[in-house]
């Protein structure tokens, strides 16, 4: 069962994140956001009179470790709910256990539809997410390429080892073709590759005027750098997986010029809620601006707290019911309403890299 219900003094919140390994940057950012929100809520009296106690586990960016992590959280620590993981794959790895043990599992940034819907199309009752989903991201990217950048021939270079990238590239393909574009080349790589030159050379020979690169920052950074070295000068674009300071280190600011990414929000958004969050975050982190995953981690805690409040209880079945009913909840990363598949309907932001900085380009509503 999901924790020991109402008996304990604390509300135990498991955080199962990528704190090391291939995509540690996401996990670290989200955990930081979570902790900031928890501190705020605890200061304001907690949830249902209980202080939230965070118990962190590191899943090392590996699915098997994510599974071990949630087993430990539910059976040893008896947590009331779990936040994590950062990526879709590592979240899916926990979904079955969350459902079996009736533990609420919240994914801040797992954008793949499979996070909340299983392969048979059934909703995973206890699993929720805070972010928009990949079919939407992919569509936004394709429309941006076709309409804003006005390209006709696009290529795709995607990470074959994540459902996330696969979903993005499918959505991109479909929409881009619908918008009258042509996909001239499609290649893939796997996580932890370091040499993309051969495949990039192959892509270059197809003369695309735009390349869509859904994937995570560690590989994307190298891909962007190597592509530029091989003389590929066309615009490159990716999705939320690109958002990490490490990307700039790896690719180099120069190589990133003329590249775009989709993200959950922009610090430049004048919205009051956003600006308040940015200021508060900067205060606590010697002036560093929050990235999208800081914000999603932060939002996820409020998303959960809102449901607890409406449920009037920390019983996980009751919380789960209320979470599913969430509607028009105003958060830093936008206004959140869930559909029947636990997919939030939210807006997305397109950013452009200019000399190593993310610059706001457009905001696209669903």
């Amino acid at each position: 069962s999901g924790g020991d219900g109402g008996n304990s003094k604390d509300f135990k919140l498991g955080v199962n994140m990528e704190l090391s390994g291939n995509v540690a940057s996401y996990g670290e950012s989200m955990a930081k956001g979570v902790e900031m929100a928890v501190a705020e809520i605890n200061k304001a009296g907690g949830v249902e009179g209980k202080q939230i106690k965070v118990i962190k586990v590191d899943n090392k960016s590996e699915a098997a470790e994510a599974t071990n992590g949630i087993i430990k959280l539910t059976s040893q620590d008896k947590v009331n709910a779990v936040i994590g993981a950062a990526t879709s794959g590592n979240t899916v790895a926990q979904a079955q256990i969350a459902n079996d043990t009736k533990t609420v599992l919240m994914a801040p940034g797992g954008t793949s539809p499979t996070v909340t819907v299983d392969e048979k199309g059934k909703v995973r009752e206890f699993v929720f997410r805070t972010s928009f989903i990949d079919p939407f991201q992919g569509t936004v990217a394709a429309n941006f390429a076709a309409n804003n950048l006005k390209v006709k021939d696009a290529a795709i270079f995607s990470d074959n080892s994540s459902d996330y990238a696969k979903g993005l590239s499918d959505a991109f393909k479909e929409t881009f073709k619908k918008a009258g574009g042509k996909i001239v080349g499609e290649e893939s790589y796997v996580a932890k590759d370091t040499d993309f030159r051969a495949t990039l050379t192959r892509l270059k020979a197809k003369n695309p005027s735009f390349i869509f690169i859904p994937g995570y920052y560690e590989e994307v950074g190298l891909i962007v750098k190597q592509a530029r070295e091989l003389g590929i000068t066309v615009p490159l674009m990716g999705a939320d997986g690109w958002d990490s300071p490490k990307l700039v280190d790896l690719a180099g600011a120069d190589a990133l010029n003329n590249t775009y990414l989709i993200n959950h929000y922009s610090t430049e958004d004048p919205d009051k809620k956003v600006q308040e969050f940015v200021t508060a975050f900067k205060d606590k982190n010697n002036g560093d601006a929050p990235n999208a995953f800081n914000a999603l981690g932060y939002d996820t805690v409020y998303f959960l707290a809102d449901a607890i409040k409406r449920a009037g209880s920390t019983d996980s079945v009751k919380i789960q019911k209320e979470l599913a009913k969430t509607k028009d909840l105003s958060l830093v990363t936008g206004v959140l309403s869930l559909d029947k598949n636990h997919h939030p309907i939210k807006s997305a932001t397109v950013l452009e890299y200019k000399n190593g900085k993310q610059v706001f380009n457009t905001k696209i509503n669903p």
Binding site: A64, T67, Q96, I97, D100, D118, E119, S162
Partner: protein, 311 residues
């Protein structure tokens, strides 16, 4: 009969181990974490003992055992998840297909020797992994969801059968033929032993049980990904066998238990876990290069005692 004494001792020991663990789980004294630990230990013992037959008994230096684990894991998962076959049947199918894979890998590679055999088996294991990577039917790199069906009783029965079969095989003229191959292949050949046959046979039996372990493994972990079966996994199994003492089945069992428990215990100290683990490994090998048990079996200890007492 003299020969059957250790056999009955083993059966009784097994029954006791099973009973005790089952009692604790049944009475709720052990939570899921611990019952899982027992299952993991058992799976690791099966893996260690099955590789022990190949390396320790037959002397064939295979370092790609995780490949057969993967075959068993995936085949049995497909059987339960896609064809909805009963779990027990799925495990057996996993074992059989892994044994076939063992034959396919073994026949061309077992004529290689020493380090060349090692790298070839490792290569095959990597190929198996990459093939799984590229099959969308089983989810590719992202993996496939598998129901949790592995239970302590099933695991224990598999473990019991594995040890019994491999011990009986080893202590027979066929097992001796394998040992002869290990000791001196040329002489074994000259004594009328079909060395290729026994090498391939041992390899296939070893793969079969690795496949069985695979079935238990995949239905214990909810998600199955090719990434879990890399060469580091093969090394883990290899380490059980060598650390226990090459040629000693008891050694394999003991070191599988020991290392699994140490790993689980160290999980509480994530920053230093691997450092301590690797230090243990290096230090044990430096001070006991022949492994914990050397080539002795637990039964030898009794023999030794009675022999001493008799004098």
């Amino acid at each position: 009969m003299k020969k059957s004494k250790p056999f009955w001792a083993f059966v009784i020991l097994a029954a006791i181990v099973y009973g005790v663990v089952q009692f604790f789980i049944g009475s709720g004294l052990l939570n899921q974490y611990y019952s899982n630990l027992f299952i993991t230990i058992s799976i690791n013992i099966i893996l260690a003992v099955s590789l022990h037959l190949v390396i320790g008994i037959t002397g064939q230096f295979s370092i790609g055992h995780a490949g057969f684990l993967a075959v068993g894991a995936y085949i049995s998962a497909i059987a339960t998840m896609k064809f909805e076959l009963p779990f027990i049947l799925a495990i057996v199918i996993g074992g059989v297909v892994a044994a076939l894979a063992g034959l396919i890998v073994g026949i061309p590679t077992l004529r290689l020797r020493g380090d060349y055999l090692a790298i070839a088996t490792l290569g095959f294991a990597e190929i198996i992994r990459i093939v799984l990577f590229n099959i969308d039917y089983v989810g590719g790199a992202a993996g496939m969801q598998v129901s949790h069906l592995t239970t302590w009783p099933i695991t224990f029965i598999c473990l019991f059968i594995t040890i019994l079969v491999i011990a009986n095989f080893t202590n027979s003229r066929h097992g001796r033929a394998c040992i002869a191959v290990r000791e001196n292949e040329i002489a074994a050949d000259a004594m009328g032993i079909n060395t290729t046959y026994y090498k391939v046979l041992a390899f296939a039996i070893g793969s079969f049980f690795a496949g069985i372990a695979g079935g238990l493994y995949s239905h214990n972990f909810y998600i199955l990904q090719p990434g879990n079966f890399g060469f580091l996994k093969s090394f883990d199994i290899l380490i059980f066998v060598v650390l226990g003492g090459l040629g000693s089945m008891t050694g394999s069992v003991i070191s599988a238990i020991l290392l699994t428990v140490i790993s689980a215990f160290l999980a509480q100290y994530p920053e230093t876990r691997m450092i301590i683990y690797s230090l243990v490994l290096v230090i044990v090998m430096l001070y006991r290069p022949q492994g914990l048990m050397g080539t002795r079996e637990i039964t030898d200890l009794f023999k030794w005692k009675t022999a001493k007492g008799g004098n």
